[in-house]
Amino acid sequence: MAGSRSLLPWPVLRQLLDGDVLGRGRSVRSRRTDEVEPRTATADRVARSVCPYCAVGCGQKVFVKDEEVVQIEGDPDSPVSRGRLCPKGSASKNLVTSSLRQTAVKYRAPYATEWQELDLHTAMDMVADRVVRSRRDTWQDLDEHGRKVRRTMGIASLGGATLDNEENYLIKKLFTAMGAIQIENQARI
Protein backbone atom coordinates (compact mmCIF):
# COMPACT_ATOMS: atom_id res chain seq x y z
CA MET A 1 0.00 0.00 0.00
CA ALA A 2 2.22 2.71 -1.28
CA GLY A 3 1.72 5.97 0.45
CA SER A 4 0.75 4.46 3.74
CA ARG A 5 4.28 4.87 4.90
CA SER A 6 4.94 7.85 7.04
CA LEU A 7 8.03 9.87 6.38
CA LEU A 8 9.10 9.37 9.93
CA PRO A 9 12.09 7.12 9.97
CA TRP A 10 11.71 5.47 13.35
CA PRO A 11 8.76 3.11 13.56
CA VAL A 12 8.34 3.82 17.28
CA LEU A 13 7.34 7.37 16.44
CA ARG A 14 5.14 6.15 13.64
CA GLN A 15 3.40 3.87 16.08
CA LEU A 16 2.34 6.89 18.06
CA LEU A 17 1.43 9.08 15.12
CA ASP A 18 -0.07 6.58 12.69
CA GLY A 19 -2.82 5.26 14.91
CA ASP A 20 -0.99 1.96 15.24
CA VAL A 21 0.01 2.07 18.89
CA LEU A 22 0.51 -1.66 19.08
CA GLY A 23 2.88 -1.58 16.14
CA ARG A 24 0.96 -4.13 14.17
CA GLY A 25 0.63 -2.82 10.68
CA ARG A 26 1.07 0.49 9.04
CA SER A 27 3.81 1.76 11.32
CA VAL A 28 6.17 -1.20 11.11
CA ARG A 29 6.37 -1.65 7.36
CA SER A 30 9.81 -1.56 5.86
CA ARG A 31 10.63 0.37 2.73
CA ARG A 32 11.02 -2.86 0.83
CA THR A 33 7.54 -3.90 1.85
CA ASP A 34 6.14 -0.63 0.61
CA GLU A 35 7.82 -1.04 -2.71
CA VAL A 36 7.02 -4.69 -3.31
CA GLU A 37 5.72 -5.62 -6.72
CA PRO A 38 4.95 -9.07 -8.06
CA ARG A 39 7.31 -10.22 -10.79
CA THR A 40 4.30 -10.96 -12.93
CA ALA A 41 3.74 -7.21 -12.99
CA THR A 42 7.32 -6.27 -13.72
CA ALA A 43 7.89 -8.85 -16.46
CA ASP A 44 9.06 -7.61 -19.84
CA ARG A 45 6.63 -9.81 -21.72
CA VAL A 46 4.21 -12.67 -21.37
CA ALA A 47 4.11 -15.59 -23.80
CA ARG A 48 0.89 -17.58 -24.17
CA SER A 49 1.82 -21.19 -23.93
CA VAL A 50 0.46 -24.64 -23.20
CA CYS A 51 1.41 -27.02 -20.43
CA PRO A 52 3.91 -29.66 -21.61
CA TYR A 53 2.79 -32.53 -19.40
CA CYS A 54 -0.50 -34.38 -20.00
CA ALA A 55 -2.90 -33.93 -22.88
CA VAL A 56 -5.53 -31.80 -21.17
CA GLY A 57 -3.86 -28.80 -22.79
CA CYS A 58 -3.98 -26.27 -19.99
CA GLY A 59 -3.18 -22.72 -20.97
CA GLN A 60 -0.03 -21.23 -19.49
CA LYS A 61 1.30 -17.72 -19.29
CA VAL A 62 5.06 -17.51 -19.36
CA PHE A 63 6.46 -14.34 -17.79
CA VAL A 64 9.85 -13.23 -19.03
CA LYS A 65 12.17 -10.69 -17.44
CA ASP A 66 15.62 -9.98 -18.84
CA GLU A 67 15.32 -13.03 -21.11
CA GLU A 68 14.74 -15.32 -18.13
CA VAL A 69 11.53 -17.14 -17.35
CA VAL A 70 10.45 -15.70 -14.01
CA GLN A 71 7.04 -17.30 -13.66
CA ILE A 72 4.76 -19.78 -15.39
CA GLU A 73 1.16 -19.91 -14.31
CA GLY A 74 -2.24 -20.89 -15.61
CA ASP A 75 -3.99 -18.79 -18.21
CA PRO A 76 -7.35 -17.74 -16.77
CA ASP A 77 -8.71 -17.12 -20.25
CA SER A 78 -8.42 -20.77 -21.25
CA PRO A 79 -11.77 -22.53 -21.63
CA VAL A 80 -9.98 -25.81 -21.03
CA SER A 81 -8.28 -25.10 -17.75
CA ARG A 82 -9.69 -21.77 -16.54
CA GLY A 83 -6.28 -20.79 -15.27
CA ARG A 84 -5.68 -23.82 -13.15
CA LEU A 85 -2.70 -26.13 -13.18
CA CYS A 86 -1.88 -29.40 -11.52
CA PRO A 87 1.35 -29.86 -9.54
CA LYS A 88 3.27 -30.78 -12.67
CA GLY A 89 1.99 -27.83 -14.63
CA SER A 90 2.70 -25.66 -11.62
CA ALA A 91 6.28 -26.94 -11.64
CA SER A 92 6.82 -25.84 -15.25
CA LYS A 93 9.19 -23.04 -14.24
CA ASN A 94 11.14 -25.59 -12.24
CA LEU A 95 11.28 -27.70 -15.42
CA VAL A 96 12.48 -24.89 -17.62
CA THR A 97 14.95 -23.31 -15.22
CA SER A 98 16.27 -26.45 -13.53
CA SER A 99 20.00 -26.46 -12.96
CA LEU A 100 20.02 -30.13 -13.89
CA ARG A 101 19.07 -29.44 -17.51
CA GLN A 102 21.50 -30.45 -20.17
CA THR A 103 22.86 -27.50 -22.10
CA ALA A 104 25.69 -29.08 -24.04
CA VAL A 105 25.95 -32.16 -26.21
CA LYS A 106 27.31 -35.17 -24.39
CA TYR A 107 28.97 -37.97 -26.27
CA ARG A 108 29.82 -41.45 -25.19
CA ALA A 109 32.29 -43.15 -27.53
CA PRO A 110 32.09 -46.91 -28.03
CA TYR A 111 33.40 -48.79 -25.00
CA ALA A 112 33.90 -45.55 -23.10
CA THR A 113 33.02 -45.35 -19.44
CA GLU A 114 32.54 -41.59 -19.29
CA TRP A 115 30.81 -38.85 -21.19
CA GLN A 116 32.69 -36.24 -23.10
CA GLU A 117 31.32 -32.93 -24.31
CA LEU A 118 30.91 -32.19 -27.98
CA ASP A 119 30.44 -29.05 -29.95
CA LEU A 120 26.90 -28.93 -31.31
CA HIS A 121 27.85 -28.64 -34.94
CA THR A 122 30.44 -31.38 -34.67
CA ALA A 123 27.83 -33.61 -33.11
CA MET A 124 25.40 -32.81 -35.92
CA ASP A 125 28.04 -33.73 -38.46
CA MET A 126 28.72 -37.00 -36.71
CA VAL A 127 25.04 -37.90 -36.56
CA ALA A 128 24.50 -37.00 -40.20
CA ASP A 129 27.47 -39.19 -41.15
CA ARG A 130 26.07 -42.08 -39.18
CA VAL A 131 22.61 -41.71 -40.64
CA VAL A 132 24.01 -41.74 -44.16
CA ARG A 133 26.25 -44.70 -43.43
CA SER A 134 23.66 -46.81 -41.62
CA ARG A 135 21.14 -46.11 -44.33
CA ARG A 136 23.59 -47.18 -46.99
CA ASP A 137 24.64 -50.28 -45.10
CA THR A 138 21.14 -51.51 -44.42
CA TRP A 139 19.36 -50.46 -47.58
CA GLN A 140 16.76 -52.82 -48.97
CA ASP A 141 15.39 -52.35 -52.46
CA LEU A 142 13.44 -55.60 -52.29
CA ASP A 143 12.30 -57.69 -49.37
CA GLU A 144 12.83 -61.40 -49.00
CA HIS A 145 9.78 -62.05 -51.17
CA GLY A 146 11.12 -59.86 -53.92
CA ARG A 147 8.67 -57.08 -53.34
CA LYS A 148 9.80 -53.52 -53.78
CA VAL A 149 10.27 -51.94 -50.38
CA ARG A 150 13.06 -49.33 -50.88
CA ARG A 151 13.75 -48.79 -47.25
CA THR A 152 16.24 -49.11 -44.43
CA MET A 153 15.56 -51.27 -41.41
CA GLY A 154 18.73 -50.01 -39.78
CA ILE A 155 17.42 -46.72 -38.39
CA ALA A 156 14.64 -46.45 -35.86
CA SER A 157 13.10 -43.65 -33.87
CA LEU A 158 10.89 -43.39 -30.81
CA GLY A 159 9.32 -40.26 -29.45
CA GLY A 160 7.18 -37.37 -30.41
CA ALA A 161 4.26 -37.34 -28.02
CA THR A 162 5.61 -34.31 -26.22
CA LEU A 163 6.80 -32.68 -29.42
CA ASP A 164 5.01 -30.20 -31.62
CA ASN A 165 2.96 -31.19 -34.63
CA GLU A 166 5.34 -29.24 -36.82
CA GLU A 167 8.25 -31.23 -35.43
CA ASN A 168 6.53 -34.56 -35.88
CA TYR A 169 5.67 -33.53 -39.40
CA LEU A 170 9.29 -32.87 -40.30
CA ILE A 171 10.46 -36.01 -38.51
CA LYS A 172 8.06 -38.22 -40.44
CA LYS A 173 8.73 -36.43 -43.69
CA LEU A 174 12.49 -36.76 -43.42
CA PHE A 175 12.50 -40.34 -42.25
CA THR A 176 10.00 -41.37 -44.91
CA ALA A 177 12.13 -39.78 -47.60
CA MET A 178 15.19 -41.54 -46.24
CA GLY A 179 13.31 -44.83 -46.24
CA ALA A 180 13.35 -45.29 -42.45
CA ILE A 181 10.08 -46.82 -41.37
CA GLN A 182 10.51 -47.88 -37.74
CA ILE A 183 9.36 -44.46 -36.62
CA GLU A 184 7.29 -44.76 -33.49
CA ASN A 185 6.07 -42.80 -30.53
CA GLN A 186 4.35 -43.02 -27.18
CA ALA A 187 0.99 -43.50 -28.89
CA ARG A 188 2.03 -47.13 -29.38
CA ILE A 189 2.93 -47.44 -25.74
Binding site: P11, V12, G23, S27
Partner: protein, 347 residues
Protein backbone atom coordinates in the same frame (compact mmCIF):
# COMPACT_ATOMS: atom_id res chain seq x y z
CA UNK B 1 19.46 -33.93 -3.89
CA UNK B 2 20.31 -30.36 -4.50
CA UNK B 3 21.69 -28.67 -1.54
CA UNK B 4 19.79 -25.61 -0.59
CA UNK B 5 18.18 -25.15 2.75
CA UNK B 6 16.81 -28.29 4.18
CA UNK B 7 13.49 -28.42 5.81
CA UNK B 8 12.22 -26.04 8.34
CA UNK B 9 13.32 -28.51 10.90
CA UNK B 10 10.62 -31.07 10.25
CA UNK B 11 10.83 -33.72 12.82
CA UNK B 12 13.36 -35.90 11.15
CA UNK B 13 12.64 -38.66 13.56
CA UNK B 14 9.63 -39.37 11.49
CA UNK B 15 7.74 -42.34 12.57
CA UNK B 16 6.62 -44.19 9.53
CA UNK B 17 2.98 -43.99 10.01
CA UNK B 18 3.54 -45.88 13.17
CA UNK B 19 1.60 -43.43 15.21
CA UNK B 20 -2.02 -44.10 14.74
CA UNK B 21 -4.31 -41.16 14.85
CA UNK B 22 -6.07 -42.30 17.91
CA UNK B 23 -3.23 -42.47 20.30
CA UNK B 24 -3.48 -43.84 23.71
CA UNK B 25 -2.12 -41.06 25.77
CA UNK B 26 0.39 -42.65 28.03
CA UNK B 27 3.11 -41.80 30.42
CA UNK B 28 5.97 -41.43 28.03
CA UNK B 29 8.97 -42.66 29.87
CA UNK B 30 7.83 -41.00 33.03
CA UNK B 31 7.21 -42.53 36.37
CA UNK B 32 4.12 -40.68 37.45
CA UNK B 33 0.94 -40.09 35.62
CA UNK B 34 -1.03 -37.16 36.83
CA UNK B 35 -3.95 -37.39 34.55
CA UNK B 36 -5.74 -40.50 33.49
CA UNK B 37 -4.86 -41.82 30.08
CA UNK B 38 -6.72 -39.90 27.48
CA UNK B 39 -7.88 -41.05 24.11
CA UNK B 40 -7.20 -38.48 21.49
CA UNK B 41 -6.83 -38.13 17.79
CA UNK B 42 -3.95 -36.57 15.98
CA UNK B 43 -2.45 -36.47 12.55
CA UNK B 44 -0.02 -39.40 12.64
CA UNK B 45 1.11 -38.27 16.07
CA UNK B 46 2.71 -35.19 14.60
CA UNK B 47 2.93 -32.13 16.82
CA UNK B 48 0.38 -29.41 16.30
CA UNK B 49 2.18 -26.46 17.80
CA UNK B 50 5.84 -26.04 17.16
CA UNK B 51 8.33 -25.95 20.01
CA UNK B 52 10.21 -22.70 20.32
CA UNK B 53 13.26 -22.95 18.09
CA UNK B 54 15.51 -21.99 20.94
CA UNK B 55 18.60 -23.61 22.27
CA UNK B 56 19.30 -23.94 25.97
CA UNK B 57 20.65 -20.40 25.76
CA UNK B 58 17.22 -19.15 26.61
CA UNK B 59 16.96 -21.29 29.72
CA UNK B 60 20.33 -19.99 30.85
CA UNK B 61 19.18 -16.49 30.10
CA UNK B 62 16.13 -17.01 32.28
CA UNK B 63 18.52 -17.90 35.06
CA UNK B 64 21.10 -15.16 34.53
CA UNK B 65 18.37 -12.56 34.13
CA UNK B 66 16.99 -13.60 37.51
CA UNK B 67 20.40 -13.45 39.13
CA UNK B 68 21.05 -10.05 37.59
CA UNK B 69 17.75 -8.65 38.79
CA UNK B 70 18.02 -10.05 42.34
CA UNK B 71 21.63 -8.96 42.62
CA UNK B 72 20.74 -5.42 41.61
CA UNK B 73 18.15 -5.34 44.34
CA UNK B 74 20.50 -6.72 46.93
CA UNK B 75 23.23 -4.34 45.85
CA UNK B 76 20.95 -1.34 46.15
CA UNK B 77 19.75 -2.49 49.57
CA UNK B 78 23.28 -3.08 50.68
CA UNK B 79 24.31 0.32 49.36
CA UNK B 80 21.56 2.01 51.28
CA UNK B 81 22.21 0.00 54.45
CA UNK B 82 25.93 0.38 54.19
CA UNK B 83 26.98 -3.17 53.53
CA UNK B 84 29.81 -2.65 51.08
CA UNK B 85 30.68 -6.32 50.86
CA UNK B 86 27.15 -7.29 49.98
CA UNK B 87 26.93 -4.33 47.62
CA UNK B 88 30.04 -5.41 45.81
CA UNK B 89 28.82 -8.96 45.58
CA UNK B 90 25.50 -7.73 44.18
CA UNK B 91 26.92 -5.30 41.70
CA UNK B 92 29.53 -7.68 40.38
CA UNK B 93 27.00 -10.53 40.32
CA UNK B 94 24.67 -8.30 38.40
CA UNK B 95 27.41 -7.42 35.93
CA UNK B 96 28.44 -11.02 35.33
CA UNK B 97 24.85 -12.13 35.01
CA UNK B 98 24.07 -9.34 32.58
CA UNK B 99 27.08 -10.13 30.47
CA UNK B 100 26.16 -13.79 30.38
CA UNK B 101 22.61 -12.79 29.48
CA UNK B 102 23.84 -10.79 26.54
CA UNK B 103 26.02 -13.69 25.43
CA UNK B 104 23.06 -16.05 25.61
CA UNK B 105 20.76 -13.70 23.73
CA UNK B 106 23.25 -12.91 21.02
CA UNK B 107 24.05 -16.56 20.59
CA UNK B 108 20.40 -17.27 20.19
CA UNK B 109 19.94 -14.56 17.59
CA UNK B 110 23.04 -15.55 15.69
CA UNK B 111 24.65 -12.16 15.36
CA UNK B 112 24.72 -9.09 17.62
CA UNK B 113 23.38 -6.73 15.00
CA UNK B 114 20.07 -8.54 15.06
CA UNK B 115 19.44 -7.12 18.51
CA UNK B 116 19.19 -3.70 16.93
CA UNK B 117 16.10 -4.80 14.99
CA UNK B 118 14.32 -5.06 18.32
CA UNK B 119 14.74 -1.37 18.92
CA UNK B 120 12.72 -0.44 15.82
CA UNK B 121 9.47 -0.81 17.64
CA UNK B 122 7.86 -0.88 21.03
CA UNK B 123 5.50 -3.82 20.98
CA UNK B 124 3.38 -3.83 24.10
CA UNK B 125 1.93 -7.14 23.00
CA UNK B 126 5.34 -8.72 22.78
CA UNK B 127 6.94 -9.69 26.07
CA UNK B 128 10.19 -9.94 24.17
CA UNK B 129 9.89 -6.36 22.99
CA UNK B 130 8.83 -5.20 26.45
CA UNK B 131 11.69 -7.18 27.93
CA UNK B 132 14.08 -5.67 25.45
CA UNK B 133 13.11 -2.20 26.50
CA UNK B 134 13.23 -3.14 30.18
CA UNK B 135 16.72 -4.52 29.68
CA UNK B 136 17.63 -1.49 27.67
CA UNK B 137 16.60 0.62 30.62
CA UNK B 138 17.92 -1.60 33.38
CA UNK B 139 21.15 -2.68 31.74
CA UNK B 140 22.94 0.68 31.52
CA UNK B 141 22.07 1.68 35.05
CA UNK B 142 22.98 -1.65 36.52
CA UNK B 143 26.08 -1.55 34.40
CA UNK B 144 26.91 1.90 35.60
CA UNK B 145 26.54 0.86 39.22
CA UNK B 146 28.76 -2.13 38.56
CA UNK B 147 31.28 0.10 36.84
CA UNK B 148 31.30 2.35 39.83
CA UNK B 149 31.91 -0.67 42.03
CA UNK B 150 34.82 -1.72 39.86
CA UNK B 151 36.23 1.77 39.87
CA UNK B 152 35.96 1.76 43.62
CA UNK B 153 38.18 -1.28 43.71
CA UNK B 154 40.91 0.54 41.82
CA UNK B 155 43.84 2.07 43.65
CA UNK B 156 42.79 5.48 44.97
CA UNK B 157 45.33 7.32 42.89
CA UNK B 158 43.49 6.33 39.77
CA UNK B 159 40.17 7.60 41.11
CA UNK B 160 40.34 11.02 39.58
CA UNK B 161 38.48 13.20 37.12
CA UNK B 162 35.64 11.53 35.28
CA UNK B 163 36.31 8.33 37.16
CA UNK B 164 35.39 10.08 40.37
CA UNK B 165 32.17 11.21 38.73
CA UNK B 166 31.47 7.57 37.98
CA UNK B 167 31.90 6.75 41.64
CA UNK B 168 29.37 9.39 42.50
CA UNK B 169 26.89 7.97 40.04
CA UNK B 170 27.13 4.54 41.57
CA UNK B 171 24.32 4.95 44.03
CA UNK B 172 21.70 6.70 41.88
CA UNK B 173 22.41 4.31 39.02
CA UNK B 174 22.19 1.39 41.40
CA UNK B 175 18.84 2.62 42.68
CA UNK B 176 17.40 3.01 39.21
CA UNK B 177 18.80 -0.40 38.43
CA UNK B 178 17.06 -1.81 41.45
CA UNK B 179 13.72 -0.25 40.61
CA UNK B 180 13.93 -1.66 37.09
CA UNK B 181 15.16 -5.03 38.28
CA UNK B 182 11.87 -6.72 39.23
CA UNK B 183 10.50 -6.38 35.69
CA UNK B 184 13.67 -8.05 34.43
CA UNK B 185 13.02 -10.97 36.73
CA UNK B 186 9.31 -11.14 36.05
CA UNK B 187 9.02 -10.53 32.35
CA UNK B 188 10.73 -13.78 31.41
CA UNK B 189 7.77 -15.64 32.86
CA UNK B 190 5.49 -13.75 30.53
CA UNK B 191 7.94 -14.38 27.72
CA UNK B 192 7.37 -18.09 28.10
CA UNK B 193 3.72 -17.95 29.01
CA UNK B 194 2.77 -15.81 26.05
CA UNK B 195 3.16 -18.72 23.65
CA UNK B 196 1.09 -21.60 22.41
CA UNK B 197 3.43 -23.98 24.18
CA UNK B 198 0.99 -25.84 26.44
CA UNK B 199 3.15 -26.21 29.55
CA UNK B 200 4.20 -22.58 29.46
CA UNK B 201 0.93 -20.93 28.65
CA UNK B 202 -1.06 -22.93 31.13
CA UNK B 203 1.38 -21.85 33.84
CA UNK B 204 0.96 -18.15 33.29
CA UNK B 205 -0.75 -17.45 36.64
CA UNK B 206 2.06 -18.75 38.79
CA UNK B 207 5.09 -18.67 36.58
CA UNK B 208 6.01 -15.04 37.33
CA UNK B 209 6.05 -15.83 41.02
CA UNK B 210 8.07 -18.96 40.48
CA UNK B 211 10.55 -17.01 38.42
CA UNK B 212 10.73 -14.06 40.82
CA UNK B 213 11.12 -16.42 43.74
CA UNK B 214 13.76 -18.26 41.83
CA UNK B 215 15.52 -14.99 41.07
CA UNK B 216 15.55 -14.07 44.75
CA UNK B 217 16.80 -17.49 45.74
CA UNK B 218 19.54 -17.51 43.15
CA UNK B 219 20.74 -13.97 43.73
CA UNK B 220 20.56 -14.51 47.47
CA UNK B 221 22.55 -17.67 46.93
CA UNK B 222 25.14 -15.77 44.92
CA UNK B 223 25.51 -13.26 47.74
CA UNK B 224 25.80 -16.04 50.31
CA UNK B 225 28.66 -17.45 48.29
CA UNK B 226 30.43 -14.20 47.53
CA UNK B 227 29.57 -11.65 50.24
CA UNK B 228 31.03 -11.60 53.71
CA UNK B 229 28.89 -13.78 55.93
CA UNK B 230 28.37 -10.96 58.35
CA UNK B 231 26.84 -8.71 55.73
CA UNK B 232 24.85 -11.43 54.00
CA UNK B 233 21.97 -11.59 56.41
CA UNK B 234 19.52 -9.79 54.11
CA UNK B 235 20.68 -12.00 51.25
CA UNK B 236 19.89 -15.11 53.28
CA UNK B 237 16.48 -13.75 54.16
CA UNK B 238 15.92 -12.79 50.55
CA UNK B 239 17.01 -16.23 49.42
CA UNK B 240 14.87 -18.10 51.92
CA UNK B 241 11.85 -15.99 51.08
CA UNK B 242 12.47 -16.49 47.40
CA UNK B 243 12.90 -20.21 47.78
CA UNK B 244 9.68 -20.44 49.77
CA UNK B 245 7.76 -18.50 47.15
CA UNK B 246 9.29 -20.56 44.35
CA UNK B 247 8.46 -23.89 45.97
CA UNK B 248 4.99 -22.85 46.97
CA UNK B 249 4.05 -21.32 43.65
CA UNK B 250 5.60 -24.16 41.69
CA UNK B 251 3.38 -26.52 43.62
CA UNK B 252 0.33 -24.39 42.92
CA UNK B 253 1.33 -24.14 39.30
CA UNK B 254 1.55 -27.90 38.91
CA UNK B 255 -1.93 -28.38 40.20
CA UNK B 256 -3.49 -25.58 38.18
CA UNK B 257 -2.01 -26.10 34.76
CA UNK B 258 -3.89 -29.25 33.91
CA UNK B 259 -2.71 -32.01 31.63
CA UNK B 260 0.52 -30.36 30.63
CA UNK B 261 1.73 -30.46 34.23
CA UNK B 262 2.57 -34.00 33.27
CA UNK B 263 5.56 -32.67 31.39
CA UNK B 264 6.97 -31.21 34.60
CA UNK B 265 7.07 -34.63 36.13
CA UNK B 266 8.35 -36.77 33.34
CA UNK B 267 11.52 -37.09 31.40
CA UNK B 268 14.28 -34.59 31.53
CA UNK B 269 12.07 -31.82 32.84
CA UNK B 270 10.85 -34.08 35.63
CA UNK B 271 14.39 -34.84 36.71
CA UNK B 272 15.33 -31.18 36.62
CA UNK B 273 12.26 -30.11 38.57
CA UNK B 274 12.86 -32.73 41.25
CA UNK B 275 16.46 -31.66 41.52
CA UNK B 276 15.36 -28.08 41.69
CA UNK B 277 13.06 -28.75 44.60
CA UNK B 278 15.64 -30.70 46.57
CA UNK B 279 18.37 -28.14 45.93
CA UNK B 280 16.19 -25.15 46.66
CA UNK B 281 14.76 -26.64 49.85
CA UNK B 282 18.18 -27.74 51.02
CA UNK B 283 19.72 -24.39 50.18
CA UNK B 284 16.96 -22.54 51.98
CA UNK B 285 17.34 -24.77 55.02
CA UNK B 286 21.07 -24.16 55.02
CA UNK B 287 20.54 -20.43 54.76
CA UNK B 288 18.05 -20.49 57.57
CA UNK B 289 19.90 -22.77 59.93
CA UNK B 290 23.60 -22.47 59.18
CA UNK B 291 23.76 -18.89 58.07
CA UNK B 292 26.69 -17.82 60.00
CA UNK B 293 28.91 -20.62 58.86
CA UNK B 294 31.00 -19.71 55.88
CA UNK B 295 31.03 -23.24 54.60
CA UNK B 296 27.33 -23.79 55.03
CA UNK B 297 26.73 -20.42 53.47
CA UNK B 298 28.76 -21.27 50.38
CA UNK B 299 27.19 -24.71 50.02
CA UNK B 300 23.67 -23.41 50.61
CA UNK B 301 24.17 -20.51 48.27
CA UNK B 302 25.45 -22.79 45.55
CA UNK B 303 22.51 -25.14 46.10
CA UNK B 304 20.10 -22.27 45.77
CA UNK B 305 21.66 -21.12 42.53
CA UNK B 306 21.72 -24.65 41.20
CA UNK B 307 18.11 -25.08 42.25
CA UNK B 308 17.14 -21.94 40.41
CA UNK B 309 18.99 -23.05 37.31
CA UNK B 310 17.23 -26.42 37.47
CA UNK B 311 13.88 -24.67 37.77
CA UNK B 312 14.55 -22.63 34.65
CA UNK B 313 15.84 -25.60 32.71
CA UNK B 314 13.00 -27.76 33.93
CA UNK B 315 10.34 -25.30 32.92
CA UNK B 316 12.06 -24.85 29.61
CA UNK B 317 12.26 -28.57 28.94
CA UNK B 318 8.70 -29.14 30.04
CA UNK B 319 7.54 -26.58 27.53
CA UNK B 320 9.48 -28.18 24.73
CA UNK B 321 8.13 -31.60 25.61
CA UNK B 322 4.58 -30.30 25.76
CA UNK B 323 4.93 -28.82 22.29
CA UNK B 324 6.34 -31.99 20.80
CA UNK B 325 3.43 -34.15 21.86
CA UNK B 326 0.12 -33.24 20.27
CA UNK B 327 -1.63 -34.67 23.30
CA UNK B 328 -1.06 -31.55 25.35
CA UNK B 329 -2.53 -29.39 22.65
CA UNK B 330 -5.43 -31.57 21.64
CA UNK B 331 -6.72 -33.07 24.85
CA UNK B 332 -7.38 -29.91 26.88
CA UNK B 333 -8.96 -28.25 23.87
CA UNK B 334 -10.99 -31.31 22.98
CA UNK B 335 -12.18 -31.55 26.57
CA UNK B 336 -13.26 -27.94 26.47
CA UNK B 337 -15.19 -28.63 23.32
CA UNK B 338 -16.78 -31.75 24.76
CA UNK B 339 -17.87 -29.76 27.81
CA UNK B 340 -19.29 -27.14 25.51
CA UNK B 341 -16.84 -24.64 26.86
CA UNK B 342 -15.09 -23.57 23.73
CA UNK B 343 -13.36 -20.28 24.15
CA UNK B 344 -15.75 -17.75 22.75
CA UNK B 345 -15.92 -14.01 22.83
CA UNK B 346 -18.53 -12.98 25.32
CA UNK B 347 -19.10 -9.45 24.09
Amino acid sequence: MSGSASGGRPDTQVRHGGSPGRTRGSSRGGDRVMVPDADFTSYYGRPIVKPAPWEHDIAYYLFTGGVAAGSSLLAAGADLTDRPGLRRSGRIGSLIALLLSVVALVHDLGKPSRFINMLRVVKLTSPMSVGTWILTLHGPFAGLASAAELVGMLPTRWQRGPVRLLLRLGRPAGLVGAVTAPPVAAYTAVLLADTATPAWHSAYEELPFVFCGSAAAASGGWAMVTAPVAEAGPARTFAVGGAAVELLMAHRMESSMGLSAETLHTGKAGRLMRASKVLTAAGAAGALLGGRSRVVSVVSGTALMAGSLCTRLGVYEAGMASARDPKYTVVPQRERVERGEQVRYQG
